[in-house]
């Protein structure tokens, strides 16, 4: 079987070598995320939900997205819309890896009046959307996908959502309409980390069976391991024409750091110098 998977728009490299490369990229991004978290001091940051989507973003920015940081206004660029916009500790390191910003700038992400502060929209540095209030971004993604199709462009719109925000009712309005409009240039990725701020998603407001729900909404539904870069590459290359696609990426909130994993208190928290050192060692030691 060929390792290169093509559709009419693009080719995705699904080789073991690419998967390994992206694993290394994810490791660097995790270290960046820890640096950023430490830099916020007493303010704290959203470490848990950022660590869960590191591999998703590594695969997107390292292979899947058709973008050019030197040409951020390129009309044919893929649009990445972070609906769970508090994933900045993962998103900004990905933008640095892709070349939109310098790595040294990462720790300035909460600076007063900074160009990355407060989830702004800033195309120059690859930020397509300013959001943060949950459940609202997918509708914008649908508008962008409709306009892209109408203007005859071949770009795709990738919207990454958290699982907790699926509690929002307007999400389901959007799911219905994306199929109604047969938006096959829209890809939603769910960072299915099973935890929202108050705890287990199934206890807060049960989502299962999410896969069945999405199939019932007529979306092409792909499930994968959201921390396995090879599996993610296969998921992105399994995208189908004719209907909107959703990738439910099974993840662990706080992935990669033992004392953060699956702990709801790390949704937003401070990291001490000592914890930072330990977390860094764990990330470096991981295979």
């Amino acid at each position: 079987m060929s390792e290169m998977v093509s559709d009419k728009h693009r080719t995705i490299d699904c080789s073991a070598q690419k998967a390994e490369e992206l694993r290394e990229m994810a490791k660097r991004m995790r270290l960046d995320a820890l640096d950023m978290a430490l830099s916020t001091g007493q303010k704290g940051s959203h470490l848990g939900g950022s660590l869960s989507c590191i591999e998703i973003l590594a695969v997107l920015y390292g292979e899947v997205l058709r973008i050019d940081p030197k040409w951020p206004q390129w009309e044919e660029r893929d649009r990445f819309i972070p609906s769970k916009n508090h994933c900045t500790l993962a998103h900004f390191p990905a933008l640095a890896e892709a070349g939109y910003i310098d790595k040294s700038e990462l720790v300035e992400f909460t600076k007063d009046g900074g160009r990355m502060t407060g989830y702004p929209r800033n195309l120059e540095i690859g930020l397509e959307y300013s959001g943060g209030s949950l459940g609202m971004a997918i509708s914008v993604g649908i508008g962008i996908a409709l306009a892209s199709r109408e203007q005859g462009r071949s770009n795709r719109v990738y919207v990454m959502m958290g699982d907790g925000e699926l509690n929002e009712g307007c999400i389901w309005e959007a799911f219905m309409s994306a199929y109604q409009y047969r938006l096959d240039n829209l890809v939603v990725i769910i960072d299915r980390n099973h935890l929202s701020y108050d705890g287990d998603t199934e206890e807060v407001m049960a989502l299962e069976s999410l896969e069945d729900k999405m199939k019932a909404f007529n979306w092409h539904t792909i499930c994968c391991n959201g921390h396995d870069t090879g599996d993610l590459l296969r998921a992105f290359s399994a995208i189908k024409e004719g209907v909107p696609n959703i990738i439910i990426a099974d993840t662990v909130k706080g992935k990669g750091v033992s004392f953060i994993e699956n702990r709801r208190e790390w949704h937003h928290s401070r990291i001490s110098q000592e914890q930072y050192e330990q977390a860094r060692q764990e990330v470096l030691a991981a295979d």
């Binding site: 209030s133 609202m136 971004a137 509708s139 993604g141 649908i142 508008g143 962008i144 307007c170 309409s177």
Partner: protein
């Protein structure tokens, strides 16, 4: 566009909504490739048939999902479209408020949202279908232009002006079919410039929406009693025409604001907020719903409960003048 007396009469029969979507929108679509018209299951009621058959690719049905509609409108606008989106005023301005705040006000997307049947024209449908707080919600959002049409011709002019400007706009359309005519012939409409319909020396009546026609009736009745009124159509709630307000403050003894809206947060509040920064300005009477929901019935019956008909406005002003 031929703004003849016969057309003005015909448009008044269509009402503000019918004129906006049935007459103005097909006209605007003629030379705009990037125009989009979105509705939340209200195309039939809004008289969009002509637009849809002429420009099927420029129309998008979103279903009864107002929040999704605002997000989709924003996404289209981010890619260069000029988007008009509509449903009942309360559903678009209140139910979708946070989406409007985030996507239209903050990101300044080029989306025009049109709230129809504002005020209490959906009389017997009850409070759920009335919009008597929409101006207050829309007015506090940065970057939004807020308009309120007095008659069908003005609704048409607003559609064209909104299409010609960049940025988010809220347009409040009031009444149903058979909208009273305020403008018998063509006139100059400019966003941000209130219009003097009648010059007087004692009282200035500032009205918006359907209350403009009522204010004119009140002014006529008061003239018979020797009270001279200026009547102004405040079609732009934001940005407020401060220059004209300064002149009005200087030349009148009493100010009366009239709106088919709660007196809290609407046009009257906008005027009062500005007036509060000035010295030696006239007293203000706020006419509108007095922070209460009226009992359902006909539109006139609802107006009467809070004193919004022409004769009631005249009576109230007479009392205030001779206080």
């Amino acid at each position: 566009m031929n703004i003849s007396r016969a057309n003005i009469r015909a448009w008044s029969r269509l009402g503000q909504r019918g004129s906006f979507f049935g007459i103005a929108m097909p006209e605007i679509a003629k030379d705009r490739d990037n125009l989009k018209l979105l509705t939340a299951d209200l195309s039939l009621l809004s008289g969009m048939d002509r637009f849809i058959s002429a420009y099927p690719d420029k129309f998008l049905q979103v279903g009864i999902a107002e929040q999704n509609m605002i997000g989709i409108a924003a996404g289209l606008a981010m890619e260069g479209d000029c988007v008009f989106a509509t449903t009942y005023a309360s559903f678009i301005a209140v139910r979708s408020l946070e989406h409007i705040r985030q996507h239209l006000a903050h990101l300044q997307c080029n989306v025009k949202i049109i709230g129809s049947a504002a005020g209490v024209v959906a009389a017997r449908s009850g409070v759920s279908h009335w919009a008597t707080e929409d101006l207050a919600f829309m007015r506090v959002l940065p970057n939004l232009t807020v308009l309120s049409a007095a008659d069908s011709l003005e609704a048409i002019k607003m559609a064209i002006s909104a299409a010609n400007m960049e940025g988010p706009v809220y347009i409040r359309l009031s009444g149903g079919l058979d909208c009273p005519v305020v403008y018998q012939e063509d006139y100059d409409f400019e966003i941000g410039k209130m219009i003097t319909l009648r010059e007087g020396s004692d009282v200035a009546i500032l009205a918006t929406g359907l209350m403009v026609a009522e204010a004119l009736e009140a002014a006529r009745l008061l003239e018979e009693k020797g009270i001279s009124c200026t009547v102004l159509n405040v079609h732009t709630i934001k940005p407020l025409d401060k220059e004209r307000l300064d002149q009005i403050f200087d030349n009148h003894k009493l100010l009366v604001t009239v709106e088919e809206h709660n007196v809290l947060g609407g046009m009257g509040s906008a005027v009062a907020e500005y007036k509060a920064t000035k010295e030696n300005v006239p007293r203000q009477v706020f006419l509108g719903f007095q922070d209460a929901f009226a009992k359902a019935g006909t539109q006139r019956y609802i107006w009467e409960q809070t004193g919004l008909t022409g004769p009631q406005i005249a009576e109230r002003i007479e009392k205030e003048v001779f206080l």
